[in-house]
Symmetry: C2
Subunit: 148 residues, 2 copies
Amino acid sequence: MDDNDLALFAVFNEIGIINQLSSTVFQSRLPDGLLVSHFSVLNHLARLGDGRTPLSIANAFQVPKTTMTHTLGALEKRRLIKMAPNPADGRSKVVVLTEAGQKAREDAIAAMTGPLHRLAEGVGRDALMDLLPRLAALREFLDDNRNI
Amino acid sequence: MDDNDLALFAVFNEIGIINQLSSTVFQSRLPDGLLVSHFSVLNHLARLGDGRTPLSIANAFQVPKTTMTHTLGALEKRRLIKMAPNPADGRSKVVVLTEAGQKAREDAIAAMTGPLHRLAEGVGRDALMDLLPRLAALREFLDDNRNI
DNA sequence: ACTACTTAGTTCGATATCGTACTAAATGGA
DNA sequence: TCCATTTAGTACGATATCGAACTAAGTAGT
């Protein structure tokens, strides 16, 4: 492994730190007890439509399904989602946003608008938008090559 | 919050997923019980020199110092690092790599060379290297604007 | 030198994450 | 139809993460 390889490592090091920093920022804007991982699920359901299965949500975030069981349990206890049997598959369930869940998501997004705008101003909206397709390509490759 | 703002969100969503996927890949190459967070500390000490304080390491990864206490405890129990009093500051400590720690880091890096090369081939080494300064700039801004 | 404040690190408790092993349902081949 | 295999979800246990409160040591102002 040479210096060029080490630089590749650095890419994932930076991504880890950015993830850490951005999570902390977002977390500080969320109401008490609502974690970033919780919000992410609410946002996913609101953006792409609810009625999805726990497994499909776990796959979307690339977390183990047992983690998603736990997260959904927390959201259900807070009555932000509801779990119903999946009519199409007896083993499965569907996850639906409640009114409170939709509102929690909207409130959270509103609370993050400020930081997000200051971020866009600071590093440049263009620079961020320019990152998006590049990151998506990397994510896609990793997603398709889990056993690399 | 409009569609442009939501796209900014997507950047951090992608980063979270990449972090998750890359951690899983790296984790699968590490020996039993050695977590990515552990390896990252070993790598940090080897790259930038040991003799650093726990707090400085925590800051480097942007994790709470209490998390670093825990991580260092695990590394010390495995005898991969040693903690010594900091001669320059009675409140503080210095963290030093042991021989075993250096070897563990080298072994881990060797084990990751394969996946890393396949990754470089798959998405293109240039594309990855192109990401690095962009990510570093974003990380730096977030680092300097913790209370954004 | 004294006191107030700050800083480094730990302890403790709560909860998130996730691997293993399990149950129940679906699927596919004989 | 039967049975083996696969798949969706959960239960459980181990450990990671992290906030709050604490102790000890350094620092700064008087």
